[in-house]
């Protein structure tokens, strides 16, 4: 009796939701179609075209894609981005995790530290890029050099900037994960005589795997999509002639796509083709990463 009463009240709520759901979803769905799905499809179409403005596109088949793979600058930007992603994913996640770990221990001023570490995330990428370029140039001036003198400076400069910006954000996610580790598990580990590192690797980390999944996903996609900071910090400089071709030594993929578009109208489609390749690349990487870290998550 009690059971049937409960299910009828659920029906009372759920039936109208089911009935009216499409109506409520409609505005968002329309916005999604107009603002995402349609431009996305048009973008793929334009990657096979030569166009100045989207309305006068002419079909050219795979020409644009052929040009992409002949472009030394694009391949250079790809390797830069890959190296940047590896370094920043490791650095940001390791540091964010340990700061989160430290700040979940009982210590004075933990809340203030959390706020302070989170704050860099509130500043826009372009602003950060310009500010950090002044900081780096100010330091390097003492050694009679400058940020864009050497691609290595630019690369590590970008890593430092992005780590500084994103560690606070990832830290918040890790703090939430760490606070959700069941106290009784930790207590059981203590009673069983587990060492600090055993507790960390056998109890805490498996329990925060969902946070690790989220944070590696965010840092991976952020590093691949990195644009503002790259443009404002070095703008891809130094530009070097190498074996008869030109590369922008600190340029990442997104910036390379952007500058390709501006070469001439014959390159609008090439930039579009690069963007399509870029999308496939990021999608494949993100899905693989999700699959790999998800499989390590434990059920509590």
């Amino acid at each position: 009796m009690a059971k049937s009463k409960k299910s009828s009240s659920v029906n009372l709520v759920q039936r109208p939701i089911k009935k009216w759901a499409p109506l409520f979803i409609l505005p968002t769905f329309a916005a999604f179609l107009i603002g995402f799905v349609w431009p996305f499809i048009q973008g793929i179409y334009l990657s096979f075209c030569n166009f100045n403005i989207p309305t006068d596109a002419k079909w050219v088949g795979l020409d644009n894609y052929a040009k992409v793979f002949k472009d030394a600058g694009f391949l250079n930007a790809f390797w830069n981005t890959a190296a940047f992603a590896v370094v920043s994913i490791i650095l940001i996640n390791v540091l964010a995790f340990f700061i989160a770990y430290a700040l979940t221990q009982k210590m004075r001023g933990a809340n203030i530290f959390r706020t302070v570490f989170f704050m860099p995330n509130l500043i826009g990428g372009v602003v950060l890029g310009y500010i950090w370029s002044m900081i780096f140039d100010g330091i390097l001036k003492n050694y009679a050099t400058y940020l864009t003198a050497n691609p290595t400076y630019g690369f590590w400069g970008l890593v430092i900037l992005v780590a500084w910006q994103q560690i606070g954000y990832m830290m918040i996610i890790y703090i939430a994960g760490l606070q959700a580790v069941p106290e009784d598990m930790l207590e059981a580990a203590r009673i069983d005589g587990a060492t600090g590192s055993q507790t960390l690797f056998r109890v805490i980390i498996p329990n925060v795997m969902p946070s690790i999944t989220t944070c590696t996903f965010l840092t991976l996609t952020n590093s691949f999509k990195m644009f503002d900071q790259n443009m404002a910090l070095t703008g891809g400089m130094p530009s070097i002639m190498e074996n008869g071709a030109k590369i922008n030594a600190t340029e990442l993929l997104a910036l390379n796509i952007f500058s390709t578009y501006n070469i001439s109208k014959n390159y609008h489609g090439v930039a579009q083709a690069k963007a399509v390749i870029f999308f496939i690349l990021v999608a494949v990487l993100a899905i693989t990463q999700q699959y790999m870290t998800r499989s390590k998550e434990v059920q509590q």
Partner: protein, 447 residues
């Protein structure tokens, strides 16, 4: 609990609807607020309307005022939208795709004309073209049709503070070629502690300033090479025959400056201008467009002039200033006929009416039209004096540069490395960036 969630969800949806409504409101309001556009349908059939996409932010206020005056006099709606230099091409791309595309836009060089040729109306034989006094600044397409009209021109060289130069014991007349420029600059450097100023303002290589050297100063070796070779359109390769001269003048800039060569990479355009306006430097390489800014910064027009850039080329005592333009108007060939006519009428009015020519003289200096007014800008006076004295005009050879921003970035990288450490090996990198970079960019654009 579920009830609560359902309620919350409904609330969120309702709110998002309100939010959508709110964002739509201003959009719906916009045409109504834009009075000329609202009247347009009525005026359209008879007179058409003008939409000018301007690329000089400093002239925006003057254009808006002039447009309002034209509308008041003739009833023809004129809309002026300004997109700054860096944003211009992306704005133009976006605006051209719209139904109400610009009817009048900028198309500054041959590369631009190649991209926009089919959007440029043939201006041959129009009343507007009949007002021109020279053909020197116009652009023609491959078929020889007049597509873009240079409506003003600019000149650049070495802006000089006559007062400081005299304090150092020299006059403008003492500087007639590279040797005399070098002697004056090095003497000022030797006595800079005593004089309290340097010869040249910082030749900054920050992106806000580097175009003065990768673009304008690089015009010197390009101009002389193209003059020797009789080049009239963008060449696939260059030889860099005059790069030693480029090095001469660049060495002079970095060795007789307000700062060290290693500091140059971070110096901005504002730094350099401040060096000059604050009396810390006698010379400042820049162009006629700086005039208003210098006067605004408190400089006295009577104490300013512009010298030609000398770099040690034979016969350069006869050189004048570097004059040319990237300010060319094109009329949208895909606009309606009424709009095209309205636009041409507006352009003619701008270069013939009292209000129009006054504004043009104030904002753009001398304009190549019959009714032009004489500008007060002393740099153009200097240019005219030099031309009148029989000196040759150094034209803007850099307008031929392929993939210009990319080519310049490579040159700037090499220049910055050389400035920090001026060795022959580092200069070779500048030559590579110049010559090989040109060939590479040409192949990218035309390949």
């Amino acid at each position: 609990m579920k009830k609560l969630i359902a309620l919350l969800l409904a609330l969120v949806m309702a709110l998002s609807l309100v939010a959508c409504g709110a964002t739509e409101e201003p959009a719906a309001d916009a045409p109504a607020a834009d009075a000329p556009a609202a009247e347009a349908p009525a005026a359209d059939a008879a007179t058409g309307s003008v939409y000018y996409l301007n690329f000089k932010p400093e002239a925006d206020a003057a254009w808006q005022e002039l447009a309002a005056q034209y509308t008041a006099e003739t009833g023809v709606p004129v809309k002026v939208v300004t997109a700054a230099g860096g944003e211009y091409s992306s704005t133009l791309n976006a605006e051209m795709a719209k139904d109400s595309a610009p009817t009048l836009f900028q198309c500054g060089n041959m590369a631009g004309l190649k991209d926009w040729d089919e959007y440029c109306l043939d201006l041959t034989g129009t009343d507007f073209a009949a007002e021109l006094t020279t053909d020197a600044f116009n652009l023609y397409n491959a078929d020889g049709a007049l597509k873009c009209v240079g409506y003003c021109y600019e000149c650049f060289g070495i802006i000089t503070n006559i007062e400081l130069l005299e304090k150092a014991g020299y006059t403008v007349a003492d500087i007639t070629d590279f040797a005399s420029l070098k002697a004056v600059a090095e003497d000022i450097t030797a006595r800079s502690a005593e004089l309290g100023f340097s010869a040249f303002s910082s030749a900054g290589l920050d992106s806000s300033s580097s175009w003065r050297f990768s673009g304008h100063l690089a015009n010197m070796p390009l101009f002389y090479e193209f003059r020797d070779d009789g080049v009239t359109e963008a060449p696939a390769t260059i030889t860099g025959a005059y790069l030693d001269n480029y090095r001469n003048i660049w060495d002079l800039y970095i060795n007789n400056s307000t700062c060290t060569g290693a500091e140059l990479n971070g110096k901005t355009g504002d730094n350099s201008k401040a060096d000059f306006t604050e009396g810390k430097a006698v010379f400042y390489q820049n162009g006629s467009w700086e005039y208003a800014g210098l006067i605004e910064a408190g400089m006295d027009a009577a104490k300013l002039t512009m010298l030609p850039i000398y770099c040690g080329v034979e016969g350069e005592a006869d050189a004048g200033l570097c004059s040319g333009t990237e300010n060319c108007w094109a009329v949208n060939a895909k606009a309606s006929e009424a709009d095209q006519k309205a636009t041409l009428d507006f352009m003619t009015w701008v270069v013939t009416s009292d209000a129009g020519t006054t504004m043009m003289a104030e904002q753009f200096g001398p304009i190549p039209f019959k009714a032009a007014k004489t500008p007060e800008n002393v740099f153009f006076a200097a240019a005219n004096d030099l031309t009148a004295a029989g000196k040759y005009v150094v034209t803007w050879a850099f307008n031929h540069t392929p993939n210009v921003d990319s080519w310049r970035a490579t040159v700037v990288t090499a220049l910055a490395a050389y400035s920090a450490d001026p060795t022959d090996a580092n200069w070779e990198a500048v030559e590579t960036a110049f010559v090989d970079g040109w060939a590479y960019e040409y192949s990218v654009v035309n390949g």
